[in-house]
């Protein structure tokens, strides 16, 4: 049995009430022993028991069978729709981001057609062809690679 101070027993009574069964198990035996030889502590415990009895006058709330049924439905219905929505948002989040960015791009383009396309500057670059022996072959291959037809002229 551990030793316990009188103040600690008083604290237990004030916090947990007059019923030693509610006191912390590790201190209970020592506290009860201390209590039995101290009329002032015993009086404090009696007063606390009076409050315990008053608190017990508050009836126990009824269980709710209908609530219990609703709770047991949660795995099937309660969170199913929410999980589905959450999963859908998770799955489509990247696509939604791309779609939003594309829509913003279109809107900005419509609002201000003078804005340059990504990767293109606003300055006009003039290209002059230089006639060399292999220019035609090189130019046609390069033009074809970027989508120009052979008849297009530079």
């Amino acid at each position: 049995m551990t030793d316990i101070t009188r103040d600690r027993v008083l604290n237990l009574i004030h916090a947990y009430g007059g019923d030693p069964a509610r006191w912390p198990g590790a201190e209970r035996e020592a506290a009860v022993a201390r209590l039995s030889g101290d009329p002032e502590l015993a009086r404090a415990a009696d007063e606390a028991r009076a409050l315990d009895l008053a608190l017990d006058a508050l009836p126990m709330p009824h269980p709710s069978p209908t609530l219990r049924v609703r709770l047991k439905d949660i795995p099937e219905s309660g969170s199913g729709l929410l999980d589905l929505v959450a999963g859908w948002i998770g799955l489509w989040r990247p696509a939604a981001g791309l779609a939003t960015a594309a829509a913003l791009g279109v809107l900005i383009g419509i609002a201000d057609p003078s804005l340059p396309l990504p990767g293109f500057g606003t300055e006009t670059v003039s290209v002059q062809s230089v006639e060399t022996a292999d220019t035609d072959t090189y130019s046609l291959a390069a033009a074809s690679a970027v989508g120009f037809a052979p008849q297009d002229t530079f």
Binding site: G17, R68, P75, G78
Partner: protein, 190 residues
């Protein structure tokens, strides 16, 4: 805190719930729903809102069972979730006390005794509702739900010393409120 998974009968159910096992989930409904409802109703003083709180608590359990750590008992974790849900609602609107609450059990004693008990119950209900939320939660968990100091402090996420301070202050305020009410009743009967 120590690992309580070995001594907590609910602990084995949590990984199963995290894996989507509905039977394990329903076992925890059977074990704890009534006590959580009683706790929420005493915290809020309102039956319908208390049922919403319990519903929210079990939705959290179904979705977040994987977050549970075995350092706390499952029941303690559920009380903590329920308390936070109740706190959210208390912050939104302060519920009124309904003495005619149909959700309360009538123990059915003799008529005179029933009147005395009803008056005392009304006084206790009003005094509890007048307490600061933390003191009320501490009293409800320890006195009504029968949690130990260690369990209640874990549910409230505070130290045992802080819990005992809340309990002592709460009980002092209740004793004073009930004494004032008794004087009122005596005054009315003169």
């Amino acid at each position: 805190m120590t690992d309580r998974s070995q001594e907590d009968p609910d602990a084995a159910l949590m990984p199963r719930i995290a894996d989507g096992d509905a039977a394990a989930f329903r076992a925890l409904v059977d074990r704890h729903a009534d006590r959580l409802l009683a706790f929420a109703q005493r915290m809020l003083g309102d039956r319908a809102t208390a049922e919403d709180v319990v519903q929210d608590t079990y939705l959290s359990l179904w979705r977040k069972a994987g977050d549970w750590a075995p350092q706390a008992r499952v029941s303690t974790w559920l009380y903590r979730v329920a308390r936070n849900a109740a706190l959210d609602r208390l912050r939104r609107v302060r519920p009124t006390v309904d003495p005619e609450d149909a959700g309360l059990i009538d123990p059915g004693p003799a008529p005179d005794r029933r009147l005395d008990d009803a008056a005392t119950a009304d006084g206790v209900r009003a005094a509890l509702n007048a307490l600061p939320e933390r003191q009320r939660a501490a009293i409800v968990l320890v006195h009504y739900e029968g949690l130990s100091g260690a369990e209640a402090s874990a549910a409230l996420d505070i130290s045992v010393e802080a819990l005992e301070s809340l309990l002592a202050r709460g009980r002092r305020a209740l004793r004073q409120a009930l004494a004032d009410r008794r004087l009122e009743l005596l005054g009315d009967s003169r």
